[in-house]
Symmetry: C2
Subunit: 358 residues, 2 copies
């Protein structure tokens, strides 16, 4: 059944990734860096939709911030990937608006295609497994908005969880409920229970199914997003959303705007080597690690150094006698902090903004 | 008596200071950096010999490596200090040779002057107190080689100690013995005893007294050093020691070559805010420290950071949640290590040399 249907990958590249500063910056957020492989994250994401017996992928649609349009074009061109179009947002309006725009664009330019909406900045080590999961999800997508649940590898407290309900199709379940980032004890109970998966923010839906639900649960998002798309300016592969209309769009994530309200939500649990890599400590966990459990990128000399992440992007980094530390060096900035403080990197970014303010 | 005699300061600037890498390098060792004040260490040293009622200082003689001649000239010119001459060593031969060359140069070009031999890379916070100590030492220098002993401020194990013997003149004692870097327990006993001071490597002597002792205890050093000086090439302020003659000179410190053997050694204990600043942890101890006990130089953002030394020479350094750490950033290198490992910086320098070797 799957092979006759076309899938339109829509890559959301609007994130700013401040917790990966100083590598990730507003000018060049993390999806445009080679974090987990030799390719940038958006390049790895684009390459995930190669030829496959089970799924027929169209050229991807990209949605990104206005200022990153040429970065996207150049990084995909380097792989000989031609996007169907690059939608430019004058500013971010979260993911519900992107999901609406993706549905409307697909309905007009790829009639009959199913939308696969996913972030540009996630790691998926098992691309073949991921394509297989998409193939499995196609049946459920006939009348459901499908989300892919990542089978937990540990009691993570940094992700939202999805509880699977009754079976719908082979490998697909109704969503019993979405739960916010849990405490450690609750996460351990979920892991024990087995019926929970991580919310990876990856969705598969038919445009008319999604737009129908969105019109019911977030009509203002639909109205504003569709108007911004209709009045968009065209320039080669670029489609710039109309600013005034888009400014009126409520800024809401697809999860709260639609998924937690609709009764058409389905989940396809899968195990595909997924990681969010939202912070330096997550990148360290993701690995690869050397014999001393260090994550090393760039030119460095490590003596008596253990369980640390060393990122040398420019200067040579030398360390002696450190453990559990993150050391990031670019030409302009050096950042040093213990792994357990990785969430606080944003404070440095905020402080730098304060200093730069007039 | 002191005011009628001239003092020739001879500044030894041949050190390489590898433990202060990556700031201190072979191309620009620590004495040419502003470590403890806004001036470089050799500039601070040269300014120590200003006009004084008690002591009549001549323009200083500088002894440095061949490659640092123009650095010395330029850094002193910036202060309007005109050195008597700049003696260039084609390679280092330790301090006994420098002491001999200083004595011979003084005997020829500043007849009747007393030599004050001292390193370019030491901190002396109390310049007035130091000049006073020199004034006190002049009487003893009539027939002794005087060394200045620093009154200990703690049981340091990183310095050699001098035990004072019988009084010779006001404030000057015969040297009972020189002792190598002691253990902690021994250093504490010395501090308790009170008759010990740190060996700062600063000497005051009449040329004929020193040369007489050196001819007795290290005649090969005297022969080679005098020949290298006699056959030196002159070029403006520069005097380049003759290479073949100097190569034949034994490489010995003045301490073992002369001071530990002669019975003309005297010590003038003093308390002048002296510090060697031989390593990053010593620089931290030297201060100044902020309210969180951090030593900060350059542009940095410190959150929850305590008892650390942050040196930002180029990149902006940001730290979160660290304690007792040294973080040094130059444009080319970043170094991170705990303060108690400061002695191991040399291992990084050695490793870099190994890598650079063909």
């Amino acid at each position: 059944m799957g092979s006759s249907l076309k899938i339109l990958p829509v890559i959301m590249s609007g994130g700013s990734g401040t917790r990966l500063w100083p590598l990730s910056t507003e000018a060049r957020p993390k999806q445009f860096h080679a974090l987990a492989s030799d390719l940038t994250m958006i390049q790895d994401t684009a390459l995930r939709f190669g030829a496959d017996d089970r799924v027929d992928f169209l050229s991807p649609l990209i949605v990104c911030n206005l200022r990153h349009g040429t970065l996207v074009r150049d990084q995909l061109r380097a792989l000989d990937v031609s996007p169907a179009a690059i939608v430019l947002e004058p500013f971010g309006r979260n993911t519900a608006s992107v999901a609406v725009i993706a549905a409307a664009w697909a309905a007009e330019h790829a009639p009959g295609a199913i939308v696969l909406l996913l972030p540009a900045d996630h790691v998926v080590l098992d691309g073949d497994g991921f394509r297989g999961a998409v193939g499995h999800a196609i049946a459920a997508a006939a009348d459901h908005i499908v989300t892919f649940g990542i089978e937990p590898t540990g009691p993570e407290t940094g992700y939202g969880y999805i509880q699977s309900g009754e079976p719908l199709y082979e490998g697909a379940f109704a969503v019993a409920r979405f739960v916010e980032k849990p405490s450690r004890a609750v996460a351990e109970a979920y892991l024990q229970d087995g019926g929970y998966s991580w919310n990876a923010g990856i969705f598969l839906y038919r445009p008319e199914v999604f737009l129908g639900q969105a019109r019911t649960f977030c009509p203002k998002v639909v109205d504003a997003a569709l108007r911004a798309l209709k009045e968009a300016a065209h320039d080669g592969p670029f489609l710039t959303l109309e600013e005034t209309a888009f400014a009126a769009c409520p800024s809401e994530p697809i999860d709260t705007a639609v998924m937690e309200k609709t009764d058409t939500a389905a989940v396809v649990p899968c195990s595909v080597g997924w990681a969010d890599v939202g912070s330096w400590s997550e990148l360290w966990r993701q690995g690869p690690l050397d014999a001393q459990e260090n994550f090393l990128r760039g030119d460095a000399i490590l003596l008596d150094t253990n369980s640390s992440l060393i990122w040398a992007d420019g200067p040579i980094v030398s360390t002696i006698g450190i453990t559990d530390l993150i050391v990031i060096a670019t030409g302009d900035h050096v950042l040093v902090l213990p792994k357990h403080r990785a969430q606080d990197v944003k404070k440095i970014v905020d402080e730098l903004k304060r200093r730069a303010a007039p």
